[in-house]
């Protein structure tokens, strides 16, 4: 694992397999919070932060508690002869970890930095049900990423989401003043815009890495 591998993962997650445009993760906040640039930036920052943290924690939980690997801590704790396979608990374990992590982060930020809490505060609870966070955690496992690779992937996926969100917010602020057919106002035109942006992002799939 060298720097080049990490760069490939990062560029891949931001541009080629962008969470919004190519993987369809986090669509609800993408449409819901992209009306204004300020709130888009706040939401993006909160997602990057929680996604990096969640990738770290879920990777550790999977490899030390759930997976049938020699590293599983239950082997030593209960002196088992072979490691137990608890991977079927993946979905339940991950969603609980993410939900409690979000709660915890919210409390810590509230205590340590009231200014940051004020700007991120309202977006944090929304993140629990953001499928992009759970999606990133599950993708890290599916793609057999190593520990550092998982953290980089989580961070880059969050950055890709933020990029999509901020670009969209910039366009939607302008769209408010545009003359749009009444039926397409609001969510429909946002989706059509997202479609056009996804066509642009499709261009990145020609990128040759490595």
């Amino acid at each position: 694992m060298d720097f080049q591998t990490l760069m490939i993962i990062a560029v891949g997650a931001i541009f080629i397999n962008n969470f919004v445009f190519a993987r369809f993760l986090g669509i609800c906040p993408y449409i819901g919070v992209s009306k204004q640039l300020d709130s888009a930036v706040g939401m993006g920052a909160a997602v990057i932060f929680v996604m990096t943290l969640a990738s770290t924690v879920t990777w550790l939980i999977y490899h030390y508690l759930l997976a049938p690997l020699p590293s599983n801590i239950f082997v030593k704790m209960l002196s088992l002869s072979s490691p137990p396979d608890l991977t079927f608990l993946k979905t339940i374990a991950f969603i609980l970890v993410i939900a409690s992590l979000v709660q915890f982060v919210e409390m810590v930020i509230q205590k340590t930095s009231p200014a940051l809490y004020k700007s991120l505060g309202i977006y944090l609870p929304l993140i629990t049900t953001n499928c992009a966070i759970l999606g990133a955690a599950l993708l890290n496992i599916d793609e057999n990423f190593m520990f550092i690779e998982s953290i980089v992937h989580g961070f880059a996926a969050g950055a890709g989401f933020t990029l999509a969100l901020v670009l969209m917010a910039g366009i939607r602020e302008k769209l408010d003043l545009a003359d749009i057919p009444p039926s397409l106002r609001g969510i429909p035109i946002a989706f059509i815009m997202a479609g056009l942006m996804a066509i642009a992002f499709l261009g990145f799939s020609g990128l040759k890495l490595g």
Binding site: R23, F24, F88, I92, L134, D142, S183, P188, L196
Partner: protein
């Protein structure tokens, strides 16, 4: 509200996708073909029915403050059952739906029904509500899947329906096609609504 109304409101009036814009991630991600959309719809309907059933059974014993974590654990358990069952019985479909099977957990439609209906109503009504919403969700996925498969592949349910001379609009089964289709479909329903109110 009559029993039939409890069931039928999910089909059109409060359709989760077309009217409430809920559960959009799977709606966009798995509608490249009717088959995938149908599979996803049935899996989500099953989870929704089971979670509505269990939530309405335990609603009186659940403390108000921790009801959301409890609902999430209930939903996650049923999603795990569906995930394992699909991997065993329909491995091809399971593979093509990919991470969107475990991601049914965070489908806001399911948590939304638990919170707004099953947590307040009895078992029978909750089952009816879950069935209606689930069928409405499946219907939406099939409609969008049909549009995308027809335009992007010239087929319906894998059977070619347009002559060989048809040049498929490939973009429709690629990611951008999902966004464009749902944008225009939502616009169409807005247009219908505006016309009805006018």
């Amino acid at each position: 509200m009559s029993l039939f109304k409890v069931f039928s409101k999910g089909l059109y009036d409060q359709n989760p996708v077309f009217k409430q814009a809920l559960g959009l991630c799977p709606t966009l991600a798995v509608t490249g073909s009717i088959e995938n959309g149908l599979g996803m719809g049935i899996a989500s309907t099953f989870v929704l029915l089971c979670s509505n059933l269990l939530v309405s059974l335990v609603r009186k014993g659940v403390p108000n403050k921790i009801r959301i974590p409890i609902y999430i654990v209930v939903i996650a358990s049923f999603v795990t059952i569906v995930d394992l069952a699909m991997a065993g019985f329909v491995p091809d479909l399971h593979k093509s739906l990919g991470i969107f099977v475990p991601l049914i957990v965070v489908n806001c439609m399911i948590l939304g029904r638990a919170e707004s209906f099953a947590g307040k109503n009895n078992v029978g009504l909750s089952l009816l509500d879950g069935l209606g919403m689930g069928v409405g969700f499946t219907l939406a996925l099939v409609v969008i899947g049909a549009i995308r498969e027809f335009l992007g592949n010239g087929s319906l349910l894998g059977i070619p329906v347009i002559g060989a001379g048809y040049e498929p609009v490939l973009i429709m089964i690629l990611p951008p096609g999902a966004f464009l289709t749902i944008g225009f479909v939502l616009g169409f329903f807005n247009w219908l609504e505006n016309k009805r109110n006018a």
